[in-house]
Subunit: 99 residues, 2 copies
DNA sequence: ATTATATTTTCTAATTTATAAAAATAAGGA
DNA sequence: TCCTTATTTTTATAAATTAGAAAATATAAT
């Protein structure tokens, strides 16, 4: 049988992880840099734009990726990051339940 | 002059604080308990419903209140908490910018 | 005033998170 | 191959967060 429609008024662990990923100045900036870019951006370009050391940025991108908020793709020497809107939409669905 | 319309594609500190408040299993449960209740609920009743010790709950409610997600009102012996939808709406506006 | 109930504050231990330096990995060019 | 660049992972430590007992505070009833 199909999975039952989940109650929209209940936060789940994936939501906690996504909120946690966005609950950091540097990561929120990183996420919205990608949102504004509206394209794939290599890690180094993000680091240059935001002035974040590469290891720190890599860690933050990893948190965003594990939370499902961004996706990455290696091509040649670069790793391109871009927004994955599904999870952001999921948060919107959760939050609009209370308004 | 009037304040200029803020760019919707930029996260601000208030957003970070709100995401941080929701980035915790217990606090997300607390917030959505109040969302579902659709009424003012005294702290003790929340603690009973969620099985959280009073001091722990008080801390979490404080975080949610400072983030602007809930409001509280003392009446007689009780402190009643309820959802403040404005901040949740603010997060929705921020997140819908990327979809 | 004393007692009871409800909530918050204080305090400390345990856990988690952030960050950077250094090492490791991946890919391409000389 | 060796070298360079780009990125990630590991390691280490500092900083922040969390949980909950104990103590303090607020309010009302007796």
């Amino acid at each position: 049988m199909k999975a039952p429609r989940l109650a929209p008024l209940k936060g789940r662990d994936s939501h906690v992880a996504a909120f946690k990923a966005l609950a950091h100045r540097g990561r929120l900036d990183t996420f919205f840099f990608l949102v504004r870019a509206r394209r794939e951006v290599p890690a180094g370009e993000i680091g240059d734009a935001l002035g974040v050391p590469a290891p720190t940025l890599s860690h933050h991108l990893d948190v965003l990726r594990r939370a499902g908020l961004v996706t990455s793709r290696r091509q040649e020497r670069y790793v391109y990051y871009s927004v994955r809107p599904e999870m952001a939409l999921d948060l919107v669905r959760l939050l609009t339940a209370c308004c």
